[in-house]
Symmetry: C2
């Protein structure tokens, strides 16, 4: 209720959008980072004429199957750009949206045709301001000089636990000035409409820096007994107080009834929005005539339609190719794909030279070189993930990737989960994926991370074993535009194994070698990533002793789960209970694959600081252990 | 190498410690937040005479079994206070250490005997500064006025990817002033020893605010060819450059050889440290004579010895006790324990009234009321976790707890993992533990979180079902001082079930009801937390149809795993393959419990916004589903 004036000025005056086509490409983007106040956004979408929020949707607030869930969800409600609620995510998403605009404008605008030109607006509250992710993202926004990012800070001094005095007494203004933002203070946010208008005008005039408009408001403004109190933070006013508030504000209308004059006032947004889009479509038609090549690229970014034959760019390997770390093979893929995918851009959280993520044909995306595609995120994993969500949700054809050590997904899990939930097809390039990283020790060695992501819905956890599997992982990741992918990649060198293939990866699990007949191997050895090599070597030994051994690469459990029962039976026949898995990670979850009678070789403790070879030996992740386990089971 | 002067002044002049007793209670604490520079700390510990780092340990840097791992680890190397490496954690731990000092000093110091009085020093780098967790923790340090926290910011302008200009151009000074810190700039950190000394003096004089001493240094100072370059960030210089550096610095001594005059200079720390501790021990003896009661409490905090009979304070319940949410039962436990555990303190990330974590007998820990025990963390989950790690590692008897919604463990997983690795017995009070929270929707509903923590080493994941189990969970959590515990607690009301017990929880899994004989039930129903009730109701139905049914509560998989094979067989007999589990979370991992032939009822997709009852029904987490599955298996 305190944010209503900001919302009103934004949706009724400042923002350019087309209610009948929420996906019109050049629309201004709006993010409600303080997602718990989503009823305001639903009301504004309704007033503005979006079909996604009809009167009946408002009445179904927070109910099963409704388009008005408890927090804004882009996948439920057209007109909502990103999914917010977890605090701090929205402002970081907004930085990603503004980055995307700045990047695309720099790449595609021409002196005679500025085809990309929109603002990104965001409302955030005290809760968002306290979250570290917000500081990370806002530091980058200042660094990048995202002048078209305009953030309203709803300074209402109230969070769930009471007055912000109890935990939040910093000077937000000083901090944001330190972060390189332009800061404006609107002292009367409850009804200072003209001040809000003036602030937006000032913010637009500052082109080299993002702007924070601090708007001092009263939470629950208008409620005579509950305004300025934490009791209205995430809770309804209650029938009695709603009545009192109506009286106090002089609002005689029925619930959900929009008075005719208000309806009439807002009704202009439908024709105005249609006109805005028509004008832009004409502009795009001109652009297409004059700048054929650029228009084709831009169209691919706008529609998400991948260029024909892009997958031919994926590198292929043979067992004779030089052994290499999958992080290096990943870089070969990224660089090959950058040539054919106009929407591919990304970078690392200060580990580009370890994660191997630099695109060699491009420079750095920076304040003065925004057309470039290597993004330098600094040591800000959580902000990085959320910024990539913003980029992915800006345009169907933008394919952001981001990178750090696999263990540091722990720092960005909030953002990764939102990639999965909000259907943002971010590619997570996660290197140093096991104890195989060696000397950096247990703080840097992931153990439980593969299992933790296999348990997460709507995300692909991929652990390729060599060159062809890395290419396969990229093929899958690029094709899955509504599902993020995590690629777990090795620091250490790995051989290219006979039998691996892109097609195999697409199925999630497949046999890379087999000397059995009739789908009845004596034993099935199952590995992923760097341990597939160990499984293959163990199979060689066992075969020498006359055993019929199948080696299965289980590169993605999710993709394998999605195969037909017949296919799964052809890879892991139910009748064969002699199964040994090997993976340098927690054995948690592997019972599903190896069954009650099988054996899962893994590491169910933290790692240690020592050379990788020593660690594998000490922790028993060895060919000998596989052979011994197999012999016990046969 | 650029930090050497700071390190030298700290360990040789500023800090008070006893090398022969690294655990002397009133020692100054030091945290190397930039943990990758740990060789500096090892060298200083060696020079100062700590037995943990002998010459041979220095030579075994980053080797298997050594006490000089690749990053500082408190559990490997006495003298190291906390485990660092993951950036930003150390500075947040330091805030926790300084909080602990301020709290204990306020509680225990007397006008004639200031028994608690030490500083907390920390060195952090650009990487730490970029991390959101650091901003969260430093905002709180400013808010709390932690005057005895002195942080050195190694301003070397280099991170792994190159010059910080590429991603870090904010004004750190302005930001920290905004956060309420005193900021000092030492311009010549490479050899400005007097400036460093003066800065420490100034910092100590500022008693109402923490101090950031920005020390401008050159990374790899002294190396003629690699100084001021990212190539020395996490990598060794190489033999050739080491030689050149020795020449450049005029250092003729052999590797690892400490010249006699240096040895002599540093040798005074052993007698001086012994004297410091002896003096303090005498002071404590006086304190004990005069302030018997306080001394007993303080002793418990210093030693970690829990007061005799503390567990009698745990509340007990009967099936007739009123149904309640386990988050409320948790609050009853916390308040009961606060009366008997002098070291219990903690709070929530702005959700105290939802997480039910307020200790009613105490006020808020604030700048001017630091003796109180309710800590208000604001919306800063990651900082909260790391601050609690610092509190836990300050004193064996401090028992910090912290709280948020279970789903937001995603925001603090980096800190939680370090609790587990560094043996910090933090209690994580995580409420709203499933889709049962209802209307807030999928952004707030954990699904994969139970599985993700069951896969993590050295942490107890506990999901109690009612009052007695919640008390049992607290008993386990309090007793496990070297292993953190996560309590997953319900928002919704739950009945007190017949058969639940504290003793059962201590075993991790146990039968709460059983009408079978000879350890041969027809079917075993297994539940956790809020779904144990559903399992119990399904059992009632099945028993009415004449079936022999055992209901098992699997409140902690880790504890159950630790029981004897005989006990496990008595609960889950191998011969009984008819097993049905029910848990409102991912079914990932449950194959281990229900076996290949059993059935795991769970939710393997994201939740939705709707009333809880509706969600349970729509997602099939129902008694009817359990009964149907059981009948199929019997």
């Amino acid at each position: 209720m305190g944010c209503a004036p900001m919302g009103h000025v934004l949706y009724d005056e400042a923002m350019r959008y087309n209610p009948k086509n929420p996906l019109w490409f050049n629309r201004d983007r709006f993010v409600l980072s303080a997602g718990h106040g989503c009823m305001l956004q639903y009301a504004l979408l309704h007033l503005a004429g979006f079909d996604s929020v009809k009167e009946e949707d408002l009445k179904e607030f927070r109910q099963w199957g409704s388009r008005t869930p408890g927090h804004p969800e882009n996948f439920e409600t057209p007109g909502v750009e990103v999914t917010t609620g977890p605090l701090g995510q929205g402002i970081a998403n907004a930085v990603g949206l503004a980055l995307a605009e700045k990047h695309l404008a720099a790449r595609f605008n021409k002196p005679d045709n500025e085809i990309i030109d929109h603002y990104t607006y965001v409302i955030l509250g005290d809760g968002c301001q306290m979250e570290g992710i917000a500081n990370e993202a806002c530091s980058l926004a200042g660094h990048w000089g995202l002048g078209k990012l305009i953030a309203f800070y709803d300074d209402n001094h109230i969070s769930i636990d009471g007055n912000t005095e109890i935990a939040f007494t910093e000077s937000v203004d000083s901090r944001f000035e330190g972060l390189g933002w332009h800061v404006i203070w609107v002292k009367n946010g409850n009804n200072g409409y003209d001040d809000i208008r003036a602030a937006i005008k000032e913010a637009k005039a500052v082109k080299d820096r993002p702007t924070l408009i601090k708007v001092t408001t009263t939470i629950g403004y208008g409620s005579p007994n509950k305004a300025n109190s934490y009791s209205v933070h995430g809770s309804a006013l209650g029938a009695k107080e709603v009545d009192a508030t109506r009286k106090n504000l002089g609002w005689p209308h029925e619930p959900f009834q929009v008075p005719e004059d208000v309806k009439k006032h807002w009704s202009r947004h439908i024709p105005e929005g249609a006109a805005l889009e028509a004008e832009w479509n004409a502009k795009f038609a001109e652009y297409e005539k004059k700048y054929k090549e650029e228009a084709a690229e831009l169209k691919s970014i706008i529609t998400g339609k991948l260029p024909a034959g892009w997958e031919k760019a994926l590198p292929t390997y043979t067992p004779e190719s030089p052994a290499d770390a999958t992080r290096n093979l990943s870089q070969q893929n990224l660089n090959a794909l950058a040539k054919v995918l106009p929407g591919l851009l990304g970078g690392s959280a200060d580990l580009a030279s370890s994660n191997m993520t630099l695109l060699k044909m491009f420079g750095d995306f920076q304040k003065d070189t925004p057309a470039e595609r290597n993004v330098r995120f600094g040591v800000r994993e959580h902000g990085m993930g959320a910024i990539c969500n913003g980029i992915a949700l800006h345009s169907p054809g933008l394919i952001p990737y981001c990178a750090t050590f696999f263990v540091f997904t722990d720092y960005m899990r909030g953002a990764i989960r939102l990639s999965a939930l909000s259907e943002a097809g971010v590619i997570y390039v996660m290197t140093h994926d096991s104890i195989g990283l060696g000397e950096d020790g247990p703080t840097h060695q992931p153990v439980e991370h593969l299992a933790s992501f296999r348990a997460m819905p709507n995300i692909l956890m991929l652990r390729p074993a060599d060159g062809n599997e890395t290419a396969g992982a990229y093929k899958v990741a690029v094709l899955n535009r509504k599902r993020p992918s995590i690629l777990a990649l090795s620091r250490q060198k790995l051989p290219h194994l006979p039998g691996t293939s892109i097609e195999g990866v697409e199925k999630g699990g497949y046999a890379i070698s087999d000397n059995s007949t009739g789908n009845k191997p004596d034993v099935i050895l199952i590995g992923t990533g760097s341990e597939l090599e160990i499984a293959a070597k163990a199979a060689d030994d066992l075969r020498k002793e006359g055993k019929a051994v199948r080696v299965v690469s289980l590169v993605s459990w999710e993709l394998f789960d999605e195969q037909s029962e017949a296919y799964k039976e052809s890879v892991l026949p139910a009748a064969v209970s002699a199964r040994v898995s090997i993976e340098a990670g927690s054995s948690f979850g592997w019972e599903k694959i190896v069954g009650s009678k099988g054996k899962a070789i893994g590491i169910d403790r933290f790692g240690a600081s020592a050379p990788a070879g020593k660690l594998y030996k000490e922790f028993g992740i060895t060919k000998e252990a596989v052979v011994a386990a197999a012999k016990e089971l046969i």
